[in-house]
């Protein structure tokens, strides 16, 4: 398509990843991937003039690595997030350094703020940091009136709030799988696209092709409610039409699974007295890896994705189910024993865009199909605070007004960490931790096409459009 694709993504890194996914998907749909695999780098990086790296040969070598990720990545590495070492620019990792903005003032606030005596001055009164003494606390930077002290930290390490990223001896980034939650924050933040999520796009194409438009089995697309803030150049109805045109028999809202979860989680909370949410796979992984003693408080409910997939398969046992959302961690979750029997594959919105374009679908020319299964409350799970709003409503709908619901709404992994720390130290707090690893909730997910300030409002608007106004009514027909 000739239209300007750059506007559909936040960054050029996403665009590059998309081009590779689109090409891989196009060849796979035509059964031509095998014989053309090695030509993809040259198709994407033609000519002799480099645009992103030192030479076109390095650019093509990196594209080769991206092709591998588009085809599922390193099967020996269980993590769905991987580093592409040759793409890593080995960014500076100097930590706190005094920049040229230092005016050589006479106050020396930096020196007084440093408890380690690491600040010294040259004969122009300009400050320097003795790295053998510095502990990277940042107090000097906070106190400099000219903001002349800067923390040169790698964007990937900065993005990773669970400190799973460090540096190899060759200075390329390394992910510690024992800490990583597969949230994808580093994938979105790395300015060189050197950390990326494995794609299951080939599995999805295989599922669609073998289904033969429903003749062999039906394939269902479960879409996350955050889709309401995505594909903004088309209508949601056109996206649904596009999914059906790809070969999905039907499109179902994950938000209906969220309605189911909201009711069951409310019942479980009233019974047990304290609970954390279980819908965000990165949050659940975080609890299990960093606060294993609190794992017993994680709700036993399946995630909305699993809840609705389970329902679909209970009525259509031969069905294949593909979850489509903003989330890289869902790619990890669907492989877990509790999800695997129900969810056959996972795509991100980025990958869905590539899939549409690999078939040359112009969504804007398609008719408006409908998508309406869930209630307002199921739909607002896509943003931070939505799950807690849904439980507040569920308490009312279940007629349990006597129950006092006190949620700790944790927006982003740092907030989750604080709440879990409080709980682990038995510091008085609410009776429910809503844990969302991404800032803003799922709308902040790494697999979104775009991230914007209006996304929350879009989700709420989509919620209000739901035919069902109550959670109990949305789920009543599932019994």
């Amino acid at each position: 398509m000739a239209m300007d694709m750059t506007r559909r993504f936040d960054t050029q890194v996403q665009l590059l990843k998309y081009k590779v996914l689109k090409e891989v998907a196009r060849l796979a749909f035509n059964d031509e991937l095998g014989e053309n695999l090695l030509d993809i780098p040259k198709t994407i990086i033609p000519g002799t003039t480099p645009t992103t790296r030192c030479c076109v040969y390095k650019e093509r070598a990196i594209i080769g690595e991206r092709v591998k990720m588009a085809m599922g990545g390193d099967h020996k590495n269980p993590n769905v997030v991987e580093v592409l070492p040759i793409a890593c620019d080995e960014c500076p990792v100097g930590g706190y350094e005094v920049t040229d903005a230092c005016r050589g003032c006479i106050a020396h606030r930096c020196e007084h703020a440093c408890k380690r005596g690491a600040i010294y001055f040259d004969h122009h009164q300009k400050a320097h940091i003795d790295k053998s003494k510095c502990i990277e606390c940042g107090m000097c930077a906070q106190n400099c009136p000219y903001s002349a002290i800067h923390n040169f930290k790698r964007p990937c390490e900065n993005a990773c709030k669970v400190h799973a990223i460090s540096m190899n001896e060759d200075k390329s980034a390394r992910i510690d799988n024992s800490k990583c939650t597969s949230c994808g924050a580093c994938v979105y933040q790395c300015p060189f696209g050197a950390i990326t999520d494995k794609s299951f796009i080939l599995n999805v194409i295989d599922i669609l092709k073998r289904s033969d438009n429903g003749r062999n089995y039906k394939s269902y697309a479960i879409v996350a409610p955050s889709i309401s803030s995505q594909f903004s150049y088309a209508t949601l109805g056109q996206v649904v039409s596009g999914l059906k045109k790809l070969g999905f028999h039907n499109v179902v809202e994950a938000a209906l699974g969220a309605d189911m979860v909201a009711l069951d989680e409310t019942r479980e909370l009233m019974e047990r007295g304290f609970l954390t949410s279980s819908c965000c796979p990165a949050f659940v992984t975080f609890v299990n890896k960093f606060y294993p003693e609190l794992s017993k408080f994680v709700s036993s409910n399946p995630s909305p994705m699993v809840a609705i997939a389970k329902y679909i398969k209970s009525n259509d046992p031969g069905a294949k189910v593909v979850f489509i959302g903003p989330c890289t961690a869902k790619k990890m979750e669907f492989q877990l024993p509790k999800a695997h029997p129900y969810v056959d594959s996972v795509l991100t919105f980025e990958e869905l865009q590539a899939l549409f374009d690999s078939r040359d679908f112009d969504l804007c020319t398609l008719g408006d199909d409908v998508l309406d299964n869930a209630s307002y409350y199921g739909r607002i799970f896509a943003r931070s605070g939505g799950l807690s709003d849904a439980i507040t409503e569920a308490v009312k709908e279940l007629g349990a007004e006597g129950f006092e619901f006190k949620p700790e709404v944790c927006d982003g992994i740092d907030a989750c960490k604080m709440a879990l720390l409080k709980k682990s130290k038995n510091i008085p707090m609410g009776n429910f931790i809503e844990g969302m690893a991404c800032d803003g909730g799922c709308i902040g997910g790494a697999g979104c096409l775009t991230h914007g300030a209006k996304n929350k409002a879009e989700v709420d608007k989509y919620g209000r459009l739901a035919y069902e106004k109550k959670i109990t009514e949305a789920v009543s027909m599932l019994k």
């Binding site: 039907n250 179902v252 329902y311 009525n315 199909d369 998508l371 309406d372 009543s476 027909m477």
Partner: protein
């Protein structure tokens, strides 16, 4: 007897929840719980004629207004 009601988006907007709820209460009133199994499915590929209801491979077009008559003609008469 297995009665499957389409609960896909299109039928949902045409009232499949009301159809399901009415069928549930009619089945209960007539004490047919052990004879009639109610199930849901997402889309029967016949959206123009929703709400689609399927009984033993046969498709019926039902609405919240016609559900009582449908129950009488196709469920009650078949199981009694």
């Amino acid at each position: 007897m297995r009665v499957t009601v389409c609960i896909g988006s299109s039928c949902h907007l045409k009232g499949s929840r009301q159809v399901v709820q009415r069928l549930q209460s009619l089945i209960a009133e007539n004490k047919l719980q052990d004879k009639v199994e109610l199930a849901g499915t997402f889309c029967m590929g016949n959206c123009q004629h929703g709400v689609n209801v399927n009984i033993d491979e046969k498709n019926y077009s039902v609405s919240p207004e016609t559900v009582d008559q449908f129950f009488k003609d196709n469920i009650l008469s078949a199981v009694k």
